[in-house]
């Protein structure tokens, strides 16, 4: 089937998109009014007549606005840029040059799949949030548009993409098993209460509904029931983990095209396809837990720039779970050419850090001895606390290290849950050396490397090494001519 849209002319989105827009706008309106509507519904009172009229009026206005919004949104491709006209009251004309685009994402929600439509999101790291969002394109048109505007797109490359990773159901089961079930279970169990507490009066209503003797019985039973309750939470959590993993990562495939662009595709009900250029990946973070280590896989997280992404937690993230050893080597080689995983660690925190981190355990043991009567058992428990603390402090410090290649670094931390954050030198855009005055006296400093999507913090380094490493990074950044965003 040939593509249906001639991108050279002004186009509208698919006309079925009106349905999607209506749903989205209705949800938006409902979201802003739901604390008002829910108590009404809970009380089961009939709406007064003017209420019905008002709601009908709102509905008509909404529909009119939606139709206008759909009609006004037109787009076309010009050499080097995408032009978009949009807006109902405030008319906008947006021009997005291709080389400013950070990432293009195709996604299909459940409703979009029923209607056979695709959403397309363009991110440029310019202003707040997503720069531009198409709701309703035909999948082929969306792919054609993506291929025309995606970062680093060349019409001449018809090279077959190289498949790196494909998750089958067996791997999905393993990934699900390795999730934190207790946490997921508690979240799943507390979600209804969190929702209820949002509504004024709903919690009181719930408390009124509970008969007076139930808390009494529950308190008496809780001593017997805490173990079954824990099992129940874990079971719910396991179920939640499985659902989340299967819904999100079903059929995940990762492909590399001419070693420069990555395509990721996944999803059971809500499908998405993501294209990112190699140079736009700011940091790659590998993480594993003892369970996932035992099952033989790691999880990968790519961070990428968007508006405000330099602040922690605001970066655009893409998670690829279940990467196995050989696949990791392939990915490392693609992203960080010449990377050797067994390169000797070059930067470690100062050795004294483990003694400092041991102190709280001594304090805790001291408090324990002071508060409990003197007995052999208590002394053994205190000694155990100190020993365990020493071991934990040692593992904590020993697990922190930085490995290097000629152009990239990897900062490793953690011994129970291990994470390794990697970035290429030239992606650093700010270097910060930070020390408290008591650190300055002892020649200790933190080194923080800021990229456009999050930062890498190397704590408690010997000051001399921190400074010379900062010099080295700056030299690498300033002599590099590679694209970094």
């Amino acid at each position: 089937m040939a593509q249906r849209i001639d991108f050279q002319r002004w186009n509208r989105q698919h006309s079925l998109g009106v349905i999607l827009l209506t749903v989205r706008n209705a949800v938006r309106v409902a979201k802003s009014f739901w604390p008002l509507l829910l108590p009404l519904w809970l009380r089961g009172e009939a709406l007064p007549r003017y209420g019905v009229l008002a709601m009908m009026g709102v509905g008509v206005l909404l529909l009119g606005y939606t139709l206008m919004e759909h009609w006004r949104f037109t787009f076309r491709l010009r050499p080097g840029a995408l032009h978009v006209k949009s807006g109902v009251f405030l008319r906008k004309r947006t021009v997005i040059p291709f080389d400013r685009i950070q990432a293009v994402q195709l996604s299909q929600g459940a409703l979009q799949r029923i209607l056979g439509l695709t959403g397309l999101t363009i991110d440029t790291a310019g202003t707040k949030g997503n720069e531009l969002e198409f709701l309703a394109l035909n999948w082929r048109d969306a792919e054609a548009l993506r291929n025309a505007i995606a970062p680093g797109a060349h019409p001449t490359t018809v090279e077959e993409p190289e498949s790196i990773l494909q998750l089958d159901w067996r791997q999905l089961v393993r990934i699900s098993l390795a999730q934190n079930h207790l946490r997921n279970g508690l979240i799943a169990l507390s979600a209804p209460f969190a929702l209820l507490s949002q509504v004024d009066g709903a919690l009181e209503w719930f408390m009124d509904w509970v008969p007076w003797w139930l808390p009494l019985v529950a308190t008496m039973l809780s001593f017997i029931l805490w173990f079954p309750a824990l099992v129940f939470a874990v079971l719910v959590g396991t179920f939640a983990s499985f659902s989340v993993v299967f819904l999100k990562h079903f059929g995940l495939t990762l492909k590399a095209k001419s070693r420069q662009r990555f395509h990721v595709q996944a999803g059971l009900l809500r499908r998405f396809a993501f294209t990112i250029e190699r140079s736009k990946i700011q940091t790659a973070t590998w993480s594993d837990t003892p369970l996932s280590r035992w099952l033989g896989f790691e999880s990968l997280l790519w961070s990428q720039a968007r508006a405000g992404s330099a602040e922690p937690g605001r970066e655009q993230r893409l998670t690829i779970p279940g990467v196995e050893g050989q696949q990791r080597r392939t990915l490392d080689e693609l992203l960080f050419p010449g990377w050797r995983r067994d390169a000797p660690p070059v930067l470690r925190p100062v050795a004294a850090l483990r003694w400092v981190r041991w102190i709280p355990w001594w304090v805790a043991a001291g408090i324990w001895q002071a508060l409990t009567p003197f007995s052999v058992g208590n002394v053994i428990f205190g000694a155990g606390l100190v020993l365990w603390g020493g071991w934990v402090a040692h593992r904590y410090v020993a697990s922190r290290m930085v490995r290097l290649s000629d152009s990239a670094l990897a900062s490793q931390r953690g011994w129970w849950k291990r994470t390794t954050t990697m970035t290429q030198f030239h992606q650093v855009q700010r270097v910060e050396v930070r020390q408290a005055f008591w650190h300055a006296h002892r020649g200790i400093a933190h080194l923080i490397l800021h990229t456009a999507a999050g930062s890498i913090r190397l704590s408690f380094l010997p000051e001399r090494e921190a400074r010379s490493f900062a010099d080295r990074i700056l030299h690498a950044v300033e002599t590099s001519s590679e694209p970094w965003m």
Binding site: A310, Q429, R430, R434, R467, R472
Partner: protein, 181 residues
């Protein structure tokens, strides 16, 4: 034989420093103009004035009325004095530790007395810059240079208390590097 080679200059094997990259000269930082210390002092004095007025009211109330106990009045006076002293100390010491350094390819700013930070931004990574002046700044002839890098929602580096011509010169240097790259 070997010596002859060396003497003829045909072969040399001098010691080469490992990791021969330019170092950030820690002693070469330029300090900020004296007027900026005045500005910090003025700000500290204004804050102190507010604080001491509050403390004064407490003392007056504790002396003249039974509502506020005597110890509360003296406590407020003591706490006020300590905070004002600390503020003035910070205004002075903070100023002393501030400094910037412009190299060919980057700009460094250091600040902080208790917690010391030193931030370096390569000029090629700067997205845009702005010069910011408050009324107090204008009165003292100072300005703040703010530098933004990619993906940020606020200024990543802001150098306060620069004289107008210094700020302008720094901006020119940033712009020049941006255009040659």
């Amino acid at each position: 034989m070997q010596d002859a080679f060396y003497l003829a200059g045909m072969f040399s094997n001098d010691v080469r420093p490992v990791g021969a990259v330019p170092r950030l000269p820690l002693g070469a930082f330029e300090s900020l103009p004296r007027a900026y210390r005045t500005q910090r002092m003025v700000v500290a004095a204004m804050a102190s004035l507010v604080l001491m007025t509050g403390a004064g009211i407490m003392v007056w109330l504790s002396l003249s009325d039974d509502v506020v106990p005597r110890w509360a009045g003296f406590g407020a006076a003591l706490a006020g004095t300590l905070i004002v002293g600390w503020g003035v100390l910070l205004a002075d010491r903070g100023y002393k530790r501030m400094g910037f350094l412009l190299r060919e390819h980057d700009l460094t700013f250091q600040r902080g007395w208790l917690i010391r930070t030193q931030v370096t931004v390569p000029l090629a990574r700067i997205q845009h810059s702005e010069v910011h002046r408050t009324p107090l700044d204008r009165w003292l002839g100072l300005s703040t240079l703010r530098i933004y890098t990619a993906g940020s929602s606020g200024a990543n580096l802001s150098i306060p208390g620069l004289q107008a011509e210094t700020a302008h010169a720094l901006r020119t240097a940033i712009l020049q590097d941006g255009t040659t790259d």
